[in-house]
Symmetry: C2
Subunit: 215 residues, 2 copies
């Protein structure tokens, strides 16, 4: 059965999934890039950004798992871009250039309709205006038996958690403090939602935990 998974979501020691003051120049917010100290050196990230080399090992293994058996993605509007309100035109095509790293259908939650956007490399962005459950239905159908991955941001993950729809979360706790920004878990009672920690492995760069929900 298709699962709804959060993967490779980096959190600061104080629980933030992105720093404050996100902007076009600073899509991860102030201090946000520090969250990805475990990911940037990996072979996966190197490959994604057209570079040779990169590390192997536990961090890389989690990066690879994040893409394994994923047939569709769901992204919040802010993770797709900095545009707010109605789309002024079709010019914004995501943060990732002509060939986004998804290579499968991606469903973007938004209040503003827009035609699907087909990119190079197999990624098509679909804009979903009728809510998180509709997005999940469409993503699950598009995934054709594979899993659906929620890319984020924190607000989107929180909505799916509150709705009891997330099956598995891999979080990478990075040794940085952000102090403010988007808190992932504030006010969310994970044990009550059925989650327990099923894996726990640390590297020099992050502590990886997998939280799994009883089904």
């Amino acid at each position: 059965m298709s699962k709804l998974r959060v993967q490779c979501f980096s959190l600061s020691l104080d629980g933030y999934g992105a720093g404050p003051e996100q902007s076009l120049d600073n899509p991860l917010g102030v201090g946000g890039p520090g969250l990805f100290g475990w990911f940037f050196p990996t072979r996966s990230f190197h490959k994604m950004t057209g570079k040779e080399g990169g590390t192997t090992g536990v961090d890389e293994d989690f990066a690879v798992r994040g893409f394994a058996n994923v047939g569709a993605w769901i992204l919040g509007r802010n993770m797709f871009g900095p545009v707010r309100g109605p789309w002024p035109d079709e010019s914004w095509k995501g943060w990732w250039g002509d060939t986004p790293p998804y290579h499968v259908p991606v469903f973007v939650l938004t209040h503003h309709a827009r035609a699907p956007l087909e990119m190079q490399g197999g990624t098509t962005f679909h804009f979903v205006t009728d809510g998180i459950e509709a997005a999940l239905q469409r993503a699950t159908a598009a995934a054709a038996g594979k899993d659906v991955r929620i890319g984020g941001g924190a607000a989107t993950i929180r909505q799916y958690l509150h709705a009891g729809l997330v099956d598995e979360m891999h979080l990478a706790l990075s040794p940085v403090l952000l102090g403010a920004g988007e808190h992932l878990l504030a006010g969310i009672d994970l044990p009550k939602l059925g989650f327990a920690c099923s894996e726990h492995v640390a590297t020099a760069n992050a502590t990886h935990v997998v939280l799994t929900r009883r089904r």
Copy 2:
């Protein structure tokens, strides 16, 4: 110069320093003992509880550091005991039996005066009714050049953090979820208070981080 330190303070993955529903039978709250999966097996804890053996290694090293150069402690009232309101009598002498594991003066924050309580092994409990700064002054004087350790709980640490008085915090992030209870860092902007992560080392049982404040 004497420092104010938090040491060996265990946090769940969702940021709680104790579970919900603390009581006489359950001083760490529901699920709370799971926070100490890194500490209970150590040689230090074994020794503290009169047992032979116990593990050595990183977890034990942090347990030992927690007592090194500590000349006095500060505890919140709830960490001293389950009694609320005025002391009905002198019968409650802490959770730890006749020989508490402190072996130095311990300053207990309370709204209700009580005579000092001298225990075996060098621990004397002093009850401080005039606030956290007065408690710190008295503890610093008693520590005679050594550091002062705040034992907890979360509410007490939060008060000293808000007041900008904590110099160093060692937190042990345990691979458990609590979902509710006392959240240590909610609403506290550690970078703004001058803290950064200065050490990060993980074991199979916990991720140890040391957060240090610029002085």
